[in-house]
Symmetry: C3
Subunit: 350 residues, 3 copies
C-alpha cells in the first residue's frame, strides 16, 4: 500500500500568486488553502528526516516543536490582521479535528481492516490528563470573564498570560516525562529507519516549505474577508473547520495510514499528541506572540468552543483509556465531529 503523493499540488503555489495579482479573491482563497496541504506535508517530511539524523531524543523534541508549525504560521498572520476570534476558532478546530475526525477516521479504517486494535493505554492516559489540564486552562479564564461583571482589561491579560505560562510549563513537563524520565515506557520498537535525505536537503526543504507556507497563509488570510462575502459562510466556520483541515491534511493522512498498518501508537501520537501540542503549547504561545505583534489575544474562548473541547476530551478519554479500539469507536468520534460541525455551521456571532 502506498501513500498518495500530493506534491503535484505544489503547482498551485505560483497559481495562487498569479490569482492574487489578478485580484480574484475567492479563487485566491481556495487555491492558497489547497496549496498549503502539500507544503504542510513537506514540513512534516523535512522534520522527520532531520529527526532521524538527530537521534530519538532531539528528534522527538523537533517533532514536538515543529509538529504544528503550519497552524502556528496561519495563526500569526491572522493575529497580524487582528482576526483574533478566527485565530481562536482555528485553534479549537485544530484540537477537535485531531481528536475527533483524525482519530475517528483512523479507528474506523484500522478497525475495519483489523477488527480490534490495541495500543499503549498508559500513553493514552497521559494524553487524556494533559487534555483535561488544557480544558481547565480554557475554562478558568472564561469563567473569570463570564462571572465577574466588572474587571479591567489588565486583569484579563494577567490571568490569560499566567494561565498560558502554566500550560507551556506543563507541556515542557510532559516532554521531559515522555523523553527523559519515563522514556522506557513509550519506546517504539527499533525500526532502523535510515534518513532518506542528507541533513542539508532536509534543512533546505524545511526552510523553503516554511517560507512558502508563510506566503500562502498571507494570501489566504488576505482573501478571507472578501471571499467569505461571496461564499456566505461565517469566519467562525472557516476557522473551526476549514483552516484546521488545510493545516493538518498531511498529518491526517499519516495517522490513517499508520492505523491501517496496525501501528495505532503512532496514530495516537499524531492525533491526540498533536491536539495536546496545540492546547498546551501553540495556543498559549500565541498569547505571548500576539503581545509582541501588538494585537493582544487573551485566553478567553467562547462557550461554544469550551463545551466542544471539553466534550471531545471526555469522549476521547472514554474511548482510548482501555487501550483498545474498533470501528464503532471510530464511527462515534466521526459522529461527534459531524454533530459539532453542523451546529457550528450557522453560528455567526464571532
Amino acid at each position: 500500500m502506498k501513500r498518495p503523493n500530493l506534491y503535484w499540488l505544489l503547482a498551485l503555489v505560483p497559481v495562487s500568486v498569479v490569482l492574487r495579482i489578478l485580484a480574484q479573491d475567492l479563487a485566491v482563497f481556495i487555491i492558497s488553502a489547497v496549496a498549503i496541504v502539500p507544503l504542510a506535508g513537506l514540513i512534516g517530511r523535512g522534520t522527520d528526516q532531520l529527526a532521524l539524523h538527530a537521534g530519538p531524543r532531539i528528534g522527538g523534541l523537533l517533532n514536538a516543536t515543529f509538529g504544528n508549525v503550519t497552524e502556528l504560521i496561519i495563526a500569526v498572520f491572522l493575529v497580524v490582521r487582528d482576526e483574533i476570534p478566527v485565530v481562536k476558532a482555528s485553534l479549537t478546530g485544530s484540537i477537535l479535528g485531531n481528536l475527533l475526525l483524525v482519530l475517528g477516521l483512523s479507528f474506523l479504517a484500522g478497525g475495519i481492516r483489523h477488527r480490534e486494535q490495541t495500543f499503549n493505554a498508559q500513553a493514552a492516559g497521559v494524553h487524556a490528563s494533559s487534555l483535561m489540564l488544557a480544558v481547565i486552562g480554557l475554562f478558568m479564564p472564561a469563567l473569570f470573564v463570564l462571572t465577574t461583571g466588572r474587571h479591567d482589561l489588565i486583569q484579563r491579560e494577567v490571568v490569560s498570560g499566567a494561565v498560558a505560562g502554566i500550560l507551556i510549563l506543563m507541556y515542557a513537563a510532559a516532554l521531559v516525562f515522555f523523553m527523559v524520565t519515563h522514556e522506557h515506557l513509550f519506546r517504539a520498537p527499533e525500526e532502523n529507519e535510515r534518513p532518506a535525505w542528507p541533513v542539508r536537503t532536509a534543512l533546505l526543504v524545511l526552510v523553503a516549505a516554511t517560507a512558502l507556507v508563510a506566503l500562502e497563509s498571507e494570501l489566504l488570510v488576505g482573501a478571507l474577508e472578501p471571499a467569505l462575502r461571496d461564499l456566505g459562510i461565517s469566519k467562525f466556520f472557516v476557522g473551526l473547520i476549514l483552516i484546521p483541515i488545510v493545516g493538518n491534511a498531511a498529518e491526517h493522512g499519516s495517522a490513517v495510514f499508520f492505523a491501517l498498518r496496525n501501528k495505532v501508537d503512532a496514530t495516537l501520537e499524531i492525533a491526540i499528541g498533536s491536539s495536546v501540542q496545540v492546547a498546551l503549547f501553540v495556543a498559549p504561545a500565541l498569547v505571548f506572540i500576539s503581545l509582541i505583534v501588538g494585537h493582544p489575544m487573551d485566553f478567553v474562548f467562547t462557550t461554544f468552543e469550551l463545551a466542544a473541547v471539553a466534550l471531545a476530551t471526555v469522549i476521547v478519554a472514554l474511548i482510548s483509556l482501555d487501550g483498545r479500539s474498533n470501528w464503532l469507536e471510530g464511527a462515534q468520534l466521526i459522529g461527534a465531529y459531524a454533530i459539532m460541525a453542523i451546529s457550528f455551521l450557522f453560528v455567526r456571532t464571532v
Copy 2:
C-alpha cells in the same frame, strides 16, 4: 424466587374508560397511568417471545426496536397535543430513570445478595461512549440556540434534524457492532430457552397490548392538564419522573430480578441499553415524527435536562467501566436520582 404478577392490573383498563366517560380527570390520570404498567409488561413479554422464535440476531433487533415502544406511544400522543416540553422531559426522565434508578436498584439489590458482581466491561464501555455521543448531540444544538442571539427557526430545525439523523445512524452502527461484526464479544451463554407462546399468540398479544397502551396514553395525556391543576405539581415533574416510571416499571422489575439472579449483563442491557435506545433512537425519531404530525419538536433541551443527563452519564461511566458492581455503587446511583428528583420538584418554567 418468583417475579410478582402484575396482570391483575389489566382490570384497570376498563375502569379508566368508565372514569373518562364520567369525566373524572384526576382519577383518569392516575388509573390510566397505573394501567400502562402491566400493558408495557405485556409488550415486553410479547417481544421476548417473538425474539425467541426469530433467533438471536433478528430477536435482538426486535428488542432494540420495540424496547421503548410504550414511551414512544406516550410521546407521540403528547406531541399531537403540542405538549413538546413534556415530551422532552419524559425522554430525559426515561434516560435518567434507567441510568440511575433502575441500575441503582439493581446494583443495590444484587450487591446486598452477592457482595460483589461482575459484568462485561467492554459492553459497558460501548454503552458509555454511546451515551457520551448522545450527550454531545444534546449539548450542541442547545449551545447553538443559547449562544447565538439571532437565528431563525429554519436553522434551528435544520440543526435539530441533522443532529437527530446522525444519532440514529450511530444507533444503527452500534446495532451492527453488537449483532454482526463483534457479536462474539457479547454472546450470552446458551440457555436453550424455548418460547412459551406460539408466534401467533405472541403477535396477537403484542398488537393488542400496543393498541391498549395507545388508548391509555390518549386518556393519560388528555387528563394531564386538568389533573395537574388539582394535584399542584408541574408538568415538568410529571414528564421527568412519573411518565418514565409508568412506562418502564415492567422493565425495572426485570432488571432488578436479573441482578438478584447474578446476571448483571442482562441488567446492564436493560438499564443502560434502554437509555442508549431512548437517547440515540427514540428521541431523534420523535424529531422526525413530530414534523409529520405537524407539531415540530426541535432537539433543544433545557439546561436542567442537559446537565442532568451529562452528570448521570459521567457517574454511570465511572461506576460501570471497571466491570464490577457492589451495593454502595447502587446506593450512590439512587442518591444521584433522588437529588435530581428533588431539584426538579419545584421547577415550573417549562
Copy 3:
C-alpha cells in the same frame, strides 16, 4: 527521614491574643492563621492516638468524623458572622486544595523518589464516584436557582436541606462500605503500631487543641474584614485559598510524607478521603448547623465553584483510576490548582 516539628508555632497562640488586645487587625489575622496550623496538627495527632486505642473500626469512624474538625470550626465562626459566601468558598477551597494541591505535591514528591507508585484502584474508584455524587449534589440546587426565574426562599431551603440530607446519608453509606461490608478490600497491612499516648492524654490534647482552634478561629474571622481592607485581596480568595491551606497544612504534610515512604494508599486516604468528607459531610452538615445558628446557608454555590470542583473531580478521576501515579501526574494536578488560584485572584463578586 523525620517530619518537621511545628509545635514551636504554638507560641503564636498567646501572641495572637496580645495582638487582639492591641487591636492590630492585620497582625491578628496573620498570626492567628499561622497559629491554627500546629493546633490542627495536634487535633490530628490526638485523633490518631485515640483511634489506636479504639481499634480499627471505631478508630476509622473517629478519623472519618474529626478529620476536618478544624475547617468545621472556622466555618461555624464564619456562619455566626454571616459570612456565608466565605464559608462556601472555604469549603470549595478545601476540596480543591486536597484534591489538587495535596495530591499533586504527594504524587510529585513520591514520583520523583520512586519513579512509579501503585495504590488500591478500587478505593480510588469509590472515592471518584463519591466525589461525582457530591458534584451532582452541588450542581442540581444551583441549576434550580439559575434556571427558575421565580422561586421563593422556602423552596431554596427545602431543596438545599433535602440535598444535604441525601449527601450525609451517602457519606454514612460509604463509611459502612469501607468499614463493615467491604472492609476486607481496604484493610491496611498490620503495622502493630502502639499508641504513644495514654487515652487520657489523647483526649486532653484533643479537647484543648479544639478549644484553642475555636479561639484562634474567632480571632481570625473577627480580623477578616479590617485585615482584607489593608491587604487588598478579596474575601473570596481568602476563603478559597488561604483558609483551606491553614486548616489542612498538617494533613498536607502527612500526605506528602506517606507518599515519600511509598505508602500512597495512606496519601489517597488523606487527600481524596478528606475531600469526600468535606463534600459529603462537612458542607451538608453546615446547611443544618447554619439553620440552628440562625444564619441559614443554602446549598447553592457559585458557577465558578461548581466548575472548579467538577473539573478537579474529572482530572483526579482520570489520573487515579488506573491505580498508578508518577511525578508528571503530580505536576499536572499542581498546574490545575495554580490555574484555578490565579483565576480566583481577581474575582471580587462574592
